[in-house]
């Protein structure tokens, strides 16, 4: 049992880790084919795992409804929405005279499933994305209050960059465009690259730890 739970996953991790690290250096079509096959395996596993996810979702909301927890009405809405969308996706379209099969349009005409996507999903996603503008404003207000030296530097840099990025700013202060470019290309880019170097080394170190079995917590639990 320990072999199945511990040694075998570690062995698979080691072999596949080394194999796909080497694959990066092999341009042969067989190597590309292997990568493509494994990517397809991952998609298939992902498909099966989605069943796990949906089961979890149904379970959580079923418990909420059964216990009449606060906001259980939303869980009912969720159930109704899932069932309705599935019916729209897998149902029969009398107008087109064929099964919808998850298509958004059939012969140029929008299906019920397409309608759900175009007139419900897209506007809702757009709404969430649009909220971002207000959140940026409120977050900026909070962080730009010059309460410390760092915040003051941030405020000054932000004002210059904002001025340099709009035509009015460049009209009022012509040099703001050049200063903005300097801030972005020199200060910002160098710090960003430093962070990226650290991230890359950290990712490689973590990968090595996983491949060589030093890091095992992802298997469920810490050291043996």
């Amino acid at each position: 049992m320990t072999f199945l739970r511990r040694q075998l996953p570690l062995l698979i991790t080691f072999v596949t880790g080394i194999l796909f690290a080497v694959q990066y250096y092999v341009p042969h079509p067989l190597s590309e084919q292997m990568l493509t096959s494994v990517s397809k395996w991952l998609q298939i596993i992902g498909g099966f795992a989605l069943v796990l996810g949906v089961t979890s979702l149904f379970h959580i909301h079923a418990v909420k409804i059964r216990r009449r927890e606060s906001g259980w009405g939303y869980s009912v809405v969720l159930y109704a929405a899932i069932v309705a969308t599935m019916a729209a996706g897998f149902g029969y379209s009398p107008a087109a005279g064929q099964w919808i099969n998850g298509k958004e349009t059939i012969k140029g005409a929008m299906t019920a499933f397409g309608w759900v996507y175009a007139y419900m999903m897209v506007p809702l996603q757009g709404t969430m994305f649009a909220i971002l503008a207000f959140f940026i404003a409120s977050a900026a207000y909070r962080s730009f209050r010059a309460r410390s030296r760092e915040a003051a530097v941030l405020l000054i840099a932000a004002v210059i960059v904002m001025l340099g990025r709009v035509p009015l700013g460049e009209h009022l202060i012509p040099i703001s465009g050049d200063i903005t470019q300097w801030i972005l290309n020199v200060l910002n880019a160098s710090v960003r690259r430093a962070i990226l170097i650290g991230i890359s080394l950290g990712a490689v170190a973590l990968s090595l730890k996983i491949i060589f079995g030093v890091e095992r917590a992802y298997l469920g639990g810490g050291k043996e």
């Binding site: 990066y24 250096y25 092999v26 341009p27 042969h28 079509p29 590309e32 991952l42 596993i45 992902g46 795992a49 989605l50 796990l52 996810g53 949906v54 979890s56 979702l57 379970h59 959580i60 418990v63 606060s70 939303y74 999903m121 809702l124 996603q125 969430m128 994305f129 909220i131 971002l132 959140f135 940026i136 409120s138 977050a139 900026a140 909070r142 962080s143 962070i195 990226l196 170097i197 650290g198 991230i199 890359s200 080394l201 950290g202 990712a203 490689v204 170190a205 973590l206 090595l208 730890k209 996983i210 060589f212 030093v214 890091e215 917590a217 992802y218 298997l219 469920g220 639990g221 810490g222």
Partner: protein, 409 residues
């Protein structure tokens, strides 16, 4: 087979010669023409090299020709000015360059009306043309083949191997003696956040980001979840981990369960502490925002990789008054996390978190290895900058050294 190949070559030579006779004597054919299988590729490609002519310029043009058995004249695959297509223009390091930098180099690839099959021999020639005059060199046979190793990336492999040895060596060193670890306030605050949640009797919300299990940041987030869950179990505080990826959810369920077992509190573990919401970015964001507003968690953890949803999540969390700790390698989202969270683990600190929280010598050794790796990169950056500057100031060719640090990524 050999006889057939020889006859074919003879026939093609005659064809090229007959075609070249049209040219007047004033244009000399290209010299030292070589055609070879393009090295370090996946096949379907040939590389042609030839010597630089004495007088090159826009008036003199080169043509790359390939014999076509179905036609009386060979196909003109490419035509360009004679002062272009030098070997130095090709982005290849010096150790794989098939010819010296001042010779001409052209790569024939499958596509755009040509299909080079691996294992099939092709006769290729180069012609010089000026005005209506042309002169072709004798055709050369070559066969495209796929290669088993990309020698262009040998420097990359060497760096990975050296870095790997440094990390493994550091792990061995860490087993023998204690390693100093600088304070990371964001990780020191983990206990504070859990303690606060316990005192207030409110749950803890932990997010593992938008990535799947193939991303190192998600693995790091899952590992940190294990450490956090162990402390949460000890305090018997509620833990909520909503997921975007079902595989990540399954892995995190196991990690959380094991953490509760290790903390000696298996009875407190709840199967539904890890739950799936949706794979859709903004639907997930809306759901988590709703959880934050309804359940009012006392501590929010944002670990892993994030995109546009980062500010929507953290700003909502900040509005509920929760203590917020973020850790991400998504550099484009870092400003939002720094602005809205109490503590932010920047980039590599996310990967260091597991070692920092566990304090296991083996884990700490990798941090030491990373620092040594950074020191090497700093030295390389300094030397590279100095050499690049010197090459411009004193007109030195240091490409043989600069190529060594090319394409490290």
């Amino acid at each position: 087979m050999k006889i057939a190949l020889t006859l074919a070559t003879l026939f093609l030579s005659c064809l090229f010669t007959a075609w070249a006779v049209q040219a007047e004597e004033a244009v000399t054919p290209p010299q030292q023409v070589r055609v070879l299988d393009t090295p370090n590729d996946s096949g379907g490609s040939l590389t042609v090299t030839w010597a630089k002519a004495a007088q090159e310029g826009p008036d003199l043009r080169y043509q790359i020709l390939m014999a076509d058995p179905a036609a009386t004249e060979p196909n003109v695959l490419a035509e360009f000015a004679s002062d272009t297509h030098y070997a130095r223009d090709v982005k290849e390091p010096w150790w794989t360059r098939p010819a010296s930098t001042d010779t001409h180099q052209f790569t024939i690839k499958s596509g755009k009306g040509i299909d080079l099959k691996d294992g099939t021999s092709y006769a290729v020639a180069v012609a010089a043309a000026a005005g209506g005059r042309r002169a072709a060199a004798a055709p050369v046979q070559a066969t495209p083949e796929p290669n088993w190793f990309n020698w262009n990336q040998i420097n990359n492999l060497a760096i990975v191997v050296i870095f790997g040895l440094i990390v493994l060596g550091s792990i061995q060193t860490a087993k023998r003696r204690e390693i100093f670890l600088r304070r990371i306030p964001g990780l020191d605050a983990v206990d504070e956040a859990i303690g606060r949640a316990t005192e207030l009797g409110k749950p803890i919300l932990y997010l593992t980001g938008a990535g799947d299990m193939s991303e190192p940041s998600t693995v790091a987030a899952a590992v940190i979840l294990g450490r956090v869950a162990k402390r949460v179990a000890a305090y018997e505080t509620d833990l909520m981990v909503p997921h975007r990826d079902p595989i990540v959810m399954a892995v995190c369920q196991e990690i959380t369960k094991q953490s509760y077992l290790e903390a000696g509190k298996p009875d407190v573990f709840k199967e539904d502490s890890n739950f799936f919401i949706t794979t859709d970015q903004f639907s997930y964001t809306a759901a988590v925002d709703g959880i934050m507003l309804r359940k009012k968690p006392a501590a929010n953890f944002f670990m892993g990789s994030y995109f546009a949803e980062s500010l929507l999540l953290t700003e909502t969390g900040a509005s509920t008054g929760a203590i917020q700790i973020a850790g991400t390698d998504s550099d484009h989202q870092l400003p939002f996390f720094v602005t809205t969270c109490d503590y932010t683990l920047i980039g590599e600190e996310l990967y260091a978190a597991s070692a920092y929280l566990s304090r296991e010598p083996v884990q700490l050794g990798t941090l030491r290895g990373q620092d040594l790796g950074k020191a090497c990169i700093l030295v390389a950056l300094g030397l590279g900058t100095a050499m690049a500057t010197a090459s411009i100031l004193f007109h030195l060719d240091v490409s043989f050294l600069l190529d060594l640090v090319k394409d490290w990524k």
